[in-house]
Structures are given as C-alpha cells and as structure tokens.
Symmetry: C2
Amino acid sequence: MKLICTQENLNKAINIVGKIINKNTTLPILNNILLKTEKRRLKLTSTNLELGVDYWIGGKIEKEGEITIPTKLFSSFISSIPNGNVEMDLKGDVLSIKCEGYKTNIKGMDAKEYPLTPKIEMKPIFKIKSFDFKQALLQVLPAVSNSESRIEITGVFMDLSKLDKNKIILVATDSYRLAEKTLTLEKENINKETVSLLKDINSVIIPKNTVQEIVRDLGNEDEMVEITISENQILFSFGNASVISRIIEGKYPDYKQIIPSKFEADVIVEIDEIVKAIKVASLFVNISSNSIELKLLPKSKTLEINAETSEIGSNRSKISAEIKGKELAVIYNYKYLIDGFNSLSGDKAILKINSGGMPTVLSSGTDKSFSYVIMSIRA
Amino acid sequence: MKLICTQENLNKAINIVGKIINKNTTLPILNNILLKTEKRRLKLTSTNLELGVDYWIGGKIEKEGEITIPTKLFSSFISSIPNGNVEMDLKGDVLSIKCEGYKTNIKGMDAKEYPLTPKIEMKPIFKIKSFDFKQALLQVLPAVSNSESRIEITGVFMDLSKLDKNKIILVATDSYRLAEKTLTLEKENINKETVSLLKDINSVIIPKNTVQEIVRDLGNEDEMVEITISENQILFSFGNASVISRIIEGKYPDYKQIIPSKFEADVIVEIDEIVKAIKVASLFVNISSNSIELKLLPKSKTLEINAETSEIGSNRSKISAEIKGKELAVIYNYKYLIDGFNSLSGDKAILKINSGGMPTVLSSGTDKSFSYVIMSIRA
C-alpha cells in the first residue's frame, strides 16, 4: 500500500470510524482501524462486531494494499500533525508516514485477521435530511431502556407501517416514560419498489449504541441519509460514510394502549422556567425515589414545584402557568421530567395531566410531531 | 441568626471556601461550611484541618448566630437561584432561605461541633500584587514532589533570607527537576519591623495543597496579598478572604549545588514548536521510561526530536534552532520537558545543555527571574 492523502481528510475519517472502538481485550485487532485501498480510494473501517463503520477518502493511490493500525495512536498522531499532504507507505506490517516536519513508523497488524463487515445487497428504502433524522433520534434517545432483561426495549423502534402515508414513527420507552416522534418524508424520497420487497418487515428495532453512533456522525449539513434494511441488518449511508448495524430481535410492546386520551388538567409553562425549578428541587429529593411534586393551582395561575427529605430539608418554588382543570398534586421522578422537557422544541410545553399513577403527556407548544409520556407516581 | 445578603456575594464566598472540602467521612462536619455573623458581617469558613479559609460578606444582620450547612447542597442551591436578595433565618438547626420564587429549608449541624481555625497574632511580613504572586506560584507548582517519603519537598520552599535585598525566592523540586523563581518586592511593601521579629525563620515550606488553593483563589485583579508567618503557620490575606495553613516541618535540600555553571551547548527554540513536537513524540515513548531524545545539529541549525519503542513504532521531527556548541544527543523524560517549557513566559526558550545524566537549564528568552533545571537521562 502506498498513497498520498490530506491530513484533513484522514483526521475527519478517523474521528468518524474511531469513535465506536472500545478497549477490546479478547480480540485486540478490534482496537485497530482497518486501512484498505478500494476503487482508487482509501477506506477506513472499524467494527465492534455489532456495528461497523466505513469511511472513504480520496487520494493518490500508488499501490494497493491493506493494514490495521492501533486506533488511539493513529488518531492522536494524525490529529497532531500539520495540515497538508500525508504520504503513507506500507512495508511488511510497518506503516511509514511522512508529512511536513515528521517521519514516523507505526507497527500494524495483518488486515487478514480483521473480521469482515456484513454487506446488504438491497437498495435503500427511503432517504431523509441528515439534520431532521438526527434531531428526531435525539428526541427519543433519552427514553430508551438500559435494562438487559427486556432486550426488545433497549433500542429505538422504527415503525415502517405508515410508509404508504409517507410517514415513519420512531418510539423509545423504558416502561417509565415513552417518546414518540413522527417523521414525514418527501414522497420522492421513498423507494416504492424496495418497500414492496420488505414483505413482512414493517418495523425494526435499532440498538441504542447504533443510534448514538448515528447521532454522533450525522452532520448538520444539508446532506441526505439513506436507510437500507435487510432481515437482520440496517444500513445508514451518508456523505463518505456508511454505518451497518445488527437489528434487535423481539416484539416491541404495543405502546399505543398506554397513551391516555382523557386528562384531568392541561398546563402550559415556559420550558426554561420549569426545568430550572425542577433542577433546584432535585437537590432536595430522596435519592431512592427521586420524587418531586407538581401542584396545580388554577386560581392563582401558578404551578408549585415541591421536594422534601427530612434529613436534607425542603424546597418550594412557584412559576406562572396557564392551567385548565382542577387543583391537583402529582408526583414524578424528576429525572424523567427533565429528560422530557429537554426533548421538546420551542419555548413552551403543554402538560396533559392525570394524577394517581396515571400517565402525563408532554408536548411542545409548536411541534405536534413529538410527544413524551411519563408515568406519575402513586402518592 | 437572621440576615439578608445578595446571592452574588454568597455564591462568590461559597466558591472560595467550598473548594477545599473533600469528602470527609471520619469527621462529617468538615463536609459543611460554617456560617457565622461577625462584626456585622457574615463569615463563611471551611477547613480540612491542614488548611482553613475564611471569607467575609456584607449584609443586613438582624440577629447574630452561627450554623454549619452541607457544602455541596448549599453550593448547588445558591448557584441555581436568581441574583438578588437572599433572606436567611435560623430556627434550631434548620436554616430557612427565602429568595425570589423559592422557599427553602436546609438542615444544618451545630456550629459548636466545628473545629476552631488557628489564628496568627503577628503582623504581615510583606505584601505583593496578587497577579504576580499567583503567576510565580504557577511557575514552580509543577515541580513540587508528590512523594510522601520525602515530606520536605512536597511543598514550595519560600526563601526569605534575601528580604534585605527586597527579594523572595520560590523553589520546588521532586529531585528530577527543579523550578526557581525570584520575586522582587517594592521596598515599602516589606514590613521591616516584623522581619526583625522573625529571628531564626528565614524560610518556610508551604504545602502543595495550600499553594493550589491560593492559586485558585487569587484573582487577576490589581489587589494585594499580604503574607504573615508564625512558627508553624502561614496566613495569606487578600480582598475579603484569608487562607491559613500549616507549614511543612523539615530541612529543604541545598538545591543550589545541583545547578551547573558550565554547559556543553546552548540552544534557542520557539516554545510552541518544541512543545508540539515533544507531544507528538510522546505517542511513541516506552511508558516505563517516557524517554525522548533531543539531537542538536548545529551545522543545519536543527533540533531533532526522536522517540522509538519497538512494539509501537518510531517518530522523528525536526524544528529550527539556534545552537552554540557541539553535536549532542540527550535523553529526557518528556513529561518533565513539557512542564518546563509550559512554565516559561515569552515565545522563546533557552536550553543550556549538558549530556550524560547531567542537568539542563531551561529559561525564557525574556524573563531571567525564572529557571527550570531538568536532569537528563544517562543513555
């Protein structure tokens, strides 16, 4: 392998493929990045066996070849050298790197030892603006479960059954709260032919780690991300990168039934104000329950936020609120409330409240495509 | 205790006194801040028994009193509430705090349980601009030893024997490198009378933790810091704060003898360039030795920086340098070199080099009051 590329491209590529690498001691080669010339470009690859990332960069390829290089060293080195051309020349398992001011040799490991990343032969099902997809994933991500006992809720559920109406729905829950986001696609960005090939696949569950990786990698630029699905893999292609991941097997819970349609009260508040008040109250919660109380005082147009623990003390704050409905006091885990408010866009939040252990629905005053359902705690 | 003060003052005070508090499980009250009205002001105090900090704030004192309050809770709470007036009212061991939008009770512990901070009855010996003192301490701090087997070098040595020439000297060493800074005082800022009372005290060793605390607390403003010394305590007074600390007992090593007066070569380099090159080289060092090689090439006006470890690879970089003397290759621990270059002011560094395990002296091209001596490693 012999080639010339730029420090800037190489650095960007390492930033994207290098992030999924965790210290792997059972299979040390997984701590390396695979460099491989492919179709007159240089491909950088990393995988943790659940998830694989490829990134292609242009350059002048003088001799084909492949090698794997320790990610941490390669990343630190390339990010430290000056911008400009980088010459790479592989001799045996040693990669020589020359650039302005530096002459470096890095010892690699044979590329033949590197596990193959799976391929999907299908065509993409749909494409969507990177920014929109990223924002949607960020909105549902906090609600994904970490529980390893219910593996089916440790990912984001992507419902494809409304593709005929140009919609996909993203859902996440950990059984204490649930986030639901509807994305509307441009009609021309849906590949009808591939959809018809999907047959029985009308939803997939994308592992949390994969979603986090996608969110990290997707830029805010105006580029598109293409989504391709096979029986047990999902592929995201965008810019010079592609991310392939396994799909979680299992049946996602029938979540629709827990979202209530009738409520005891409606509250409208400023998101910044209530988040601030909840954070202050959180200093006074019992760490075993994390409970805070929201008290609705419709007559004085006030929402009271209360927390108390006998060994610590107590805190009461008041913020102004538009309240429709009766006087109520409802208890929540403050962490789930903060996650919910932080997921909303815009300045104002609408809370549709039921007391006594029933669900409350949070939504934004401006964006109806997202809602966050949180269970209240029976007093 | 009943008083009104401002959130701004209270927050500033907690930031200063709250920092020295480490989680203390044997004496839980040390996790608290002592609040005490004193001379119509509110005094906040914290101590870790080695080091005590007082900070005074103004306010309207309606009723004298004292209480201790958990630092972490108090700090998080006060930093979260809005700017403006804060009313505090002590009832039993519960401190009620009222401010805009919030009503809060915090459970405290009896102030009588709180250890007394020692007092020094002497007058200050000298005063100096906060900024100058802080910068000087920052220059020597990295060289202070962490070794608990030689307790006398785990602090900054302050030599007072040149006070008659208006100078104090700060020294730190861990036996691998040594930093020496001379501070020149204004004549009128030295209290001749107190100096004459010092008798046999012509130096003190200030514990590293105390120096770190002082560096954190001293502002960059134009205020002065007054230094007072007794037989086993040192007091720093500045603005509304005072920090009192024990002094390390023991005899500081006679460091002057290790600084050589003759050198094999002189090198002048750009500090930024050499630090960058050393950082890149550090990726290739053997982690048991941290060795890098500086190679002086006088003919080509080049300094070569080399590092190599067979399992990792090798790195060579070149930077331009003015070199007087012969061709030399000298080995150093790269960490000590980086600390040294980072301690220098200005753009250029002067290295006065001896090879073969002898000391090298680093100084700034512009500031002669500071020098950093580093032992080279015998090849």
